[in-house]
């Protein structure tokens, strides 16, 4: 279990981790996302260190979710959406590198705001659905993956005796962990989480937050959150976005979470984390 949750800033910024030597799961260079020509987010440049948690924070309209959805091209589904700049997954440019979006999305998974298990499928079928969609049929592989993913999502003990039960028999928090297991089963390199606890009660929220800490060894996580305490608790690196005069969100500051929450470089970051606006 993770240690007691603390939102207090660390005493020294020197304790903040230096991510520079770490391998990069993703790299964003001058990324801008537009809808029908109108920019929704622009000037985003940062690296996502491997096997760390990166949080995106900022007020409503700052483009956090938009940016997140650009990272696995879910965006392509929105009419008129375009992405500029360079977005690398490992060494591959995910927009210009010729990788089919369907293959990209097996490598960059997503967990949504509200638990969205497939309503007609059992717990087991939900977990292995990603593998089946991608053409994996071998039962042994599916079963092993299901167990591993459910263990990873801290749901195995709860559901191992009723894998054939409907997903709707689970509570909201359990459904969300099922969705995490479903995303994990294809073993993505990066897991995107879009305010994964905003529809959950505090206890379920705490379990998801603990889970995020445990999953770091397995997958790189990028999480959007409205809750700054949550960002402080779960993330190693934090990107602060803000809506500019032009109505487009842009990056204000990206730093180690400890540094961003104690000694941010930009005064606007300090104002935001102290609740002076937004």
């Amino acid at each position: 279990m993770s240690e007691t949750i603390s939102t207090a800033a660390p005493e020294s910024v020197a304790a903040a981790e230096d991510f520079r030597p770490l391998p990069k799961a993703m790299r964003l260079q001058d990324v801008a996302v537009s809808f029908s020509g109108k920019q929704a987010v622009r000037d985003v440049t940062f690296d996502v260190p491997e096997k760390r948690v990166t949080s995106l924070i900022g007020p409503s309209g700052s483009g956090k979710t938009t940016l997140l959805r650009a990272l696995n091209r879910l965006h392509d589904l929105t009419k008129g959406a375009t992405v500029e700049g360079t977005l690398l997954l490992g060494e591959t440019d995910i927009y210009k590198g010729g990788i089919p979006p369907t293959l990209l999305r097996t490598r960059v998974g997503m967990v949504f705001q509200r638990p969205n298990p497939f309503p007609t499928m059992s717990i087991y079928d939900n977990v292995v659905s990603g593998l089946r969609f991608n053409g994996i049929r071998k039962r042994a592989v599916l079963q092993e993956a299901a167990e591993s993913a459910l263990l990873g999502a801290a749901l195995w003990d709860r559901v191992k005796d009723r894998l054939k039960a409907h997903a709707s028999t689970l509570s909201g928090g359990e459904q969300q962990r099922l969705c995490i297991a479903r995303a994990l089963a294809v073993e993505p390199e990066v897991l995107l989480m879009d305010e994964p606890t905003s529809a959950l009660d505090p206890i379920s929220t705490k379990r998801i937050e603990e889970l995020i800490g445990e999953l770091k060894d397995r997958v790189t996580i990028v999480i959007v959150t409205h809750n700054m305490q949550q960002a402080a608790r779960v993330s190693d690196q934090c990107a602060f976005l803000l809506m500019g005069e032009d109505g487009a969100g842009h990056q204000v500051e990206v730093a180690a979470t400890q540094k961003l929450f104690s000694e941010p470089d930009d005064p606007r970051t300090l104002d935001y984390i102290h609740g002076r606006f937004g």
């Binding site: 279990m1 089919p100 369907t102 293959l103 097996t106 490598r107 593998l131 991608n134 053409g135 994996i136 592989v141 092993e144 993956a145 591993s148 263990l151 990873g152 801290a154 294809v186 073993e187 993505p188 390199e189 445990e214 060894d217 397995r218």
Partner: protein
């Protein structure tokens, strides 16, 4: 929990990641071919569905358009003769007849249909449930039965089932009654659907402010559902405009019904005119049915188009 995770060998995860990558890349071609094939099938089905429509429009235009003239729309049917077999005049009596019959039918059907729609959308009482099933049966009722019904109670009238009905004879009123009864369940079902689509939370917000249900219905539910309500009425109108069978029973099935705005008289109607003309012994009448049919299709098309545009307009005004 951490213990379990630590005991987990790390390799299976990496192995599985590689497996997913390999298999998904390998099966991608097959999967995207399947996907393209399915899209192709959908497109094919769409085209197939379009074929009859295009064929109908084509034959109507090619056979009917040459009949269109000012006289065709502004005069009543003439009397062809052997020397002048194409002297068929126009069908102005049917245009006026349809305007009057559909106008009256709509006036009758709107209040009944919308109020009943509101009831079945908002109430779960036994009566409301009965009404809903009745409406469902009514929409499936062959329209000719409504003609027989209106014929019995209004055209013949008199003493029936212990009730004395007025005897009004072949008339626009009887036609409007038959078409109106036909339109009610259509309006009811379509308006119910749009009234039900108003989110429960919005209704509850009104109730939580102390509003009575009637106030919530009038100030919140109906305005929110308005585009759908208008659509439901226009849907019923465009259905009513094309109805033939009930009218043949009750408005007087003659080509030479008078051109009149008075619904007490026998009246003609556009779809009935097509049928009557086609059944006439005169080739001129038979052929001019195409011209009338083309007009009817254009009217129904514009009704549907107008209804969509209106709903879209209201929707946009709200933004």
């Amino acid at each position: 929990m951490t213990d379990v995770l630590e005991q987990l060998p790390k390799d299976p995860i990496l192995e599985r990641r590689e497996l997913v990558k390999a298999v998904s890349a390998r099966t991608l071609r097959r999967r995207s071919l399947t996907s393209k094939g399915m899209v192709g099938l959908c497109a094919l089905a769409f085209v197939l569905a379009l074929v009859p429509l295009v064929a109908i429009l084509y034959s109507l235009v090619s056979k009917g358009l040459h009949w269109w003239s000012r006289e065709f729309f502004t005069t009543s049917p003439a009397v062809p003769s052997i020397g002048n077999p194409n002297n068929v005049g126009g069908f102005a009596n049917a245009i006026v007849g349809t305007l009057v019959i559909i106008g009256l039918a709509t006036l009758l059907a709107i209040p009944v249909g919308l109020l009943a729609g509101l009831l079945v959308a908002e109430s779960d009482s036994r009566f409301a449930r009965m009404l809903r099933s009745t409406a469902e049966i009514m929409t499936g009722l062959p329209s000719i039965l409504l003609g027989i019904f209106a014929y019995t109670v209004l055209v013949i009238g008199g003493e029936k089932w212990g009730i004395t009905f007025p005897t009004i004879g072949y008339s626009g009123i009887a036609g409007a009654f038959a078409i109106g009864v036909l339109m009610v369940p259509i309006i009811m079902k379509a308006s119910e659907a749009s009234l039900r689509s108003v989110p429960q939370v919005v209704k509850e917000a009104g109730l939580a402010l102390g509003a009575r249900r009637s106030v919530v219905a009038r100030r919140i539910i109906v305005p929110t559902a308005l585009p759908g309500l208008i659509t439901s009425v226009l849907l019923a109108v465009s259905r009513g405009v094309g109805e033939t069978a009930p009218l043949i029973w009750v408005v007087g099935a003659s080509i030479y019904n008078p051109l009149t705005w008075n619904p007490h008289h026998p009246m003609s109607a556009i779809p009935m005119m097509i049928w009557l003309n086609y059944n006439s012994p005169y080739p001129g009448f038979q052929d001019s049915a195409w011209g009338i049919a083309l007009f009817l299709v254009v009217v129904v098309l514009f009704l549907n188009l107008g209804c969509r545009l209106l709903a879209a307009f209201i929707q946009r005004e709200r933004r």
